[in-house]
């Protein structure tokens, strides 16, 4: 069974903190993605990676960075968390056209 695992289901962080969201996939997929989901806005792409150490900006990369040192792991970094980054964060991986999602991390920045 395919598996994308996000390190936390729920996180509460303070404004200005550096936040790390971790994602691991066990399907040997080349492509990995970070989306955020907000009510009324759907899923918006933050960053994606098509290979180890490769990354591309998505539609809303401001305030975020990513790291992919190993094929199975893709990390999202909030350099200095702000309240407008309170959201549901979703990691996904794919080889072909179908993406497989993790369970999501609900991040609250206070």
């Amino acid at each position: 069974d395919v598996k994308v695992t996000q390190s936390s289901r729920y996180l509460v962080k303070r404004t200005g903190e550096k936040v790390f969201l971790e994602c691991v996939q066990d399907m040997d997929h080349e492509n990995m993605f970070w989306y955020r989901q907000d009510p009324g806005l759907g899923l918006r792409l933050i960053y994606f990676s098509y290979d180890v150490k490769m990354k591309e900006k998505g539609d809303i990369p401001e305030g975020y960075s990513v790291s992919r040192e190993k094929k199975e792991r893709f990390s999202l970094i909030l350099e200095s968390a702000s309240t407008n980054q309170t959201s549901m964060y979703l990691c996904a991986s794919s080889r072909g056209y179908e993406a497989f999602f993790g369970q999501g991390t609900r991040l609250t920045v206070v």
Binding site: V4, R9, N31, F33, Y35, G40, L41, G42, L43, R44, L45, F48, Y50, E56, G58, L90, A92, S94, Y97, E98, A99, F100, F101, G102, Q103, G104, R106
Partner: protein, 112 residues
């Protein structure tokens, strides 16, 4: 600029009836279309897909129709069940890209 549009934020249907969820797109380079289902506090799960070279794909109670000339696709659920209550996202992939473009979602409520 939203390339995949779901213009109905919500839909309510009685159990046993047909649910029809609609999706429009603007990018003629999209070659694959997918529907995902999402429950609260969970990640989206893949439901059904269709290639741009087809106009219909069926999987049990779920059928997706694609009208390329109108840049429109729809998801039909027959018969609808209370467990189908979820948010449904339409997604599309550009053949030259890696990532899926998602619509804003339609919240389906199936009432007993």
């Amino acid at each position: 600029d939203q390339q995949v549009k779901q213009n109905s934020p919500s839909l309510s249907v009685q159990e046993g009836r047909i649910s029809i969820l609609n999706c429009d797109y603007t990018n003629s380079m999209f070659d694959y279309f997918l529907w995902y289902k999402k429950y609260p506090a969970e990640g989206p799960t893949f439901l059904i897909s269709i290639s741009s070279i087809k106009d219909k794909n069926e999987d049990g109670r779920f059928t997706v129709f694609l009208n390329k000339s109108a840049k429109h696709l729809s998801l039909h659920i027959v018969p609808s069940q209370p467990g189908d209550s979820a948010v449904y996202f339409c997604a599309a992939r550009d053949h030259s890209g890696y990532a899926l473009n998602f619509g804003k979602g339609t919240s389906l409520l199936v009432t007993p």
